[in-house]
C-alpha cells in the first residue's frame, strides 16, 4: 500500500505550488474575514477534489490495469484510496489546526468551544461524502462519478432548504445538538468502514 500512496502523493507533487497557493489564499481570506470557517471548509473541499483528481489520473493512464499485474491484493489497492482520502481531509485539518487556532485566537472569532462542533460536523460530512463517492468512483469511474458528486452535494441542500422550517421546530435543545455533533464522527467512521467493505467487493468483480 505504501507504493500506491506514494504514487498518489508524487502525482500531487506536480501541482504542489497550486495547492499551497490556494490553501494560503484561504488562510489570508480567513484572517481578513475574521472567520476561520472558510479555511476549515476549504480544507474539506480540497480533500474531496484531490481524491477525485487521483482517480482521474489513474484512469488517464489506465493505472489499474497495470496495478493488477503487480503483486498487490485488490483490497490493498482499494484501501490505499480510503487512506488517501482520510489523509487528505482529516490529515490536512490536523496539519492546519495550529494555523486555525492561531487565526481564531488573533481574530477573536469563535470560541474554541463553538469551533470544535463545527469541525466535528465537517469531519463527519467529509467522511459521509467519501463513503458515498469512493464506491461510485470505483464502480463507475470519475466521469459518471462526477454527476453523483453533484447530486450528493445538491440534493441534501435542496432537502435541507425544503424542510428547514420543519427542522427548526423539531430541533432538540442546543446543548444536545452540540453533544450529538461531537459523537457524529463515530457514525461517519462506521459508514466509512462499511463503504470500504463494499468497495472491495465492487473492485473484486471488476475486469480490466
Amino acid at each position: 500500500m505504501k507504493a500506491l500512496l506514494l504514487k498518489d502523493f508524487l502525482a500531487m507533487k506536480s501541482q504542489l505550488k497550486m495547492i499551497v497557493s490556494i490553501l494560503l489564499l484561504f488562510v489570508v481570506v480567513s484572517f481578513f474575514l475574521q472567520d476561520s470557517f472558510y479555511l476549515i471548509l476549504s480544507i474539506f473541499i480540497f480533500g474531496t477534489i484531490q481524491v477525485t483528481t487521483s482517480f482521474t489520473y489513474d484512469e488517464m493512464s489506465n493505472w489499474d490495469q497495470y496495478a493488477n499485474t503487480l503483486p498487490l491484493e485488490k483490497s490493498e489497492i482499494v484501501k490505499s484510496k480510503y487512506v488517501l482520502s482520510l489523509l487528505l481531509s482529516i490529515g490536512t485539518l490536523l496539519l492546519f489546526s495550529p494555523i486555525l487556532l492561531l487565526i481564531n485566537h488573533l481574530t477573536k472569532g469563535l470560541l474554541l468551544f463553538d469551533l470544535l462542533p463545527i469541525i466535528a460536523l465537517l469531519a463527519t460530512g467529509s467522511l459521509l461524502i467519501m463513503s458515498l463517492l469512493l464506491p461510485i468512483y470505483i464502480k463507475f469511474g470519475t466521469q459518471k462519478g462526477r454527476l453523483f458528486l453533484f447530486l450528493i452535494v445538491i440534493l441534501p441542500i435542496i432537502g435541507f432548504n425544503a424542510s428547514i422550517s420543519f427542522i427548526l421546530d423539531q430541533l432538540p435543545p442546543i446543548e444536545t445538538l452540540q453533544k450529538l455533533s461531537y459523537v457524529s464522527p463515530i457514525f461517519g467512521a462506521i459508514l466509512f468502514i462499511l463503504s470500504y467493505i463494499l468497495s472491495v467487493k465492487l473492485y473484486e468483480t471488476k475486469e480490466f
Binding site: 508524487l10 488517464m60 493512464s61 490495469q65 480490466f208
Partner: protein, 283 residues
C-alpha cells in the same frame, strides 16, 4: 522440463468476441511468439493469463501453479509489459524506481538505473516528455528490475522504429541467458518473432490455429506457385491453404508430402499467417 505457462481449454466470452478452447504450453527457457491479426484474441488471452479478465472455463497454470489460487506468488515472478506505459505521465523514471521498490521485495534499484543508463532513458524527465521508444524501454526495464522468471509482453514493439525494436529484442535475448527464464511475446510484427521466438502460437477469431516449434513450422511448410490447372498435380493431402493471386494460385503445402520435383519457396511467419487468414481450403 517444466512449463512456464500451461493453458487448457480456456474460454472467455466478451460482448462481441469469444475465446474458444484456447490451449497452448510455453516450456520453461523458451520464447513463444503469440501472433494473430488485431482483434484475434491475443490481448484477451494475455489478460486472462494474469487474471485481468476472469476466465469462464478452462485451466491456466503458471510455473505449475493454478493461476486463480496463487495470484500473488505468481505475480511476484512475472513482468508484464503492455503496448502503452501505464504510469501517470507526470512521474519520472526516478520516482518509478521509488514506487516499484515499495512493490517488489526483489526490486534491484542499481539494475534499474543501469538499464536506464544503458538504454539512454533520462531519469529526471517526466514520462510525458519521453519519446514512445523511451517509454517502452522504461516499461520493459520496470518489468525486468525485480528479476522475474517470465515476461508477458503484449505488443511491446508495435509503433516503434527498427532501431529501437532491435535494442528491445537484444534486451529480451539477454534476459533469456538464464535458462529458467521464459517469454510470451504477442505481436503482429512477425519479423521480430522470426528473429527470437522458439515457438509460434497463432490465434484467429478467438481460436488457436496452431502452436508449434518455429523451426519445425518453417521447415515443414512450403509455398508452391503456379496455375490452378498445374495445382491439380499436387497431392490433395499435402495442401494446407490456397490463395488466388493475379498470376494464378499460391498453395501452402506440407513439404514432406510433396515430391521433390515441385519447387517450393520457404515461407515466412507472415506468409503462413496470411494463408491461414486470407486463404481457402482446397479440394
Amino acid at each position: 522440463m517444466t512449463n512456464a505457462i500451461e493453458v487448457l481449454n480456456l474460454n472467455k466470452k466478451l460482448q462481441q468476441f469469444q475465446l474458444r478452447d484456447v490451449s497452448f504450453t510455453l516450456p520453461t527457457g523458451t520464447i513463444m511468439g503469440f501472433v494473430g491479426e488485431n482483434g484475434a484474441g491475443k490481448t484477451t488471452t494475455i489478460k486472462c493469463l494474469i487474471n485481468l479478465l476472469k476466465k469462464d472455463r478452462g485451466s491456466i497454470k503458471l510455473f505449475g501453479l493454478e493461476q486463480d489460487s496463487n495470484q500473488l506468488a505468481i505475480k511476484e515472478q512475472i513482468g508484464v509489459v503492455f503496448d502503452h506505459i501505464h504510469f501517470l505521465e507526470m512521474l519520472t523514471p526516478k520516482q518509478i524506481n521509488q514506487l516499484m521498490g515499495a512493490v517488489y521485495k526483489t526490486w534491484d534499484q542499481q539494475y534499474f538505473f543501469k538499464l536506464m543508463n544503458q538504454l539512454k532513458v533520462p531519469i529526471h524527465k517526466p514520462i510525458k516528455q519521453l519519446s514512445s521508444g523511451m517509454k517502452m524501454k522504461l516499461s520493459i526495464s520496470t518489468a525486468l528490475a525485480h528479476y522475474p522468471k517470465l515476461l508477458i509482453l503484449d505488443e511491446p514493439t508495435s509503433g516503434l522504429d527498427p532501431i529501437v525494436r532491435e535494442e528491445i529484442l537484444d534486451l529480451f535475448l539477454e534476459f533469456m541467458q538464464d535458462e529458467e527464464h521464459s517469454i510470451l511475446f504477442s505481436s503482429h510484427i512477425t519479423s521480430d518473432l522470426e528473429k527470437i521466438a522458439d515457438y509460434i502460437t497463432f490465434i484467429h477469431e478467438g481460436e488457436i490455429l496452431f502452436s508449434e516449434n518455429k523451426d519445425d513450422l518453417l521447415y515443414h511448410l512450403g509455398i508452391w506457385k503456379g496455375s490452378l490447372e498445374q495445382a491439380k498435380e499436387l497431392p490433395d493431402h499435402a495442401k494446407v491453404r490456397m490463395k488466388e493471386t493475379p498470376f494464378g494460385v499460391e498453395i501452402l503445402v506440407k513439404r514432406n508430402e510433396v515430391n521433390n520435383a515441385f519447387y517450393l519457396e520457404k515461407p515466412t511467419i507472415e506468409d503462413i499467417m496470411l494463408f491461414y487468414v486470407k486463404g481457402d481450403f482446397l479440394k
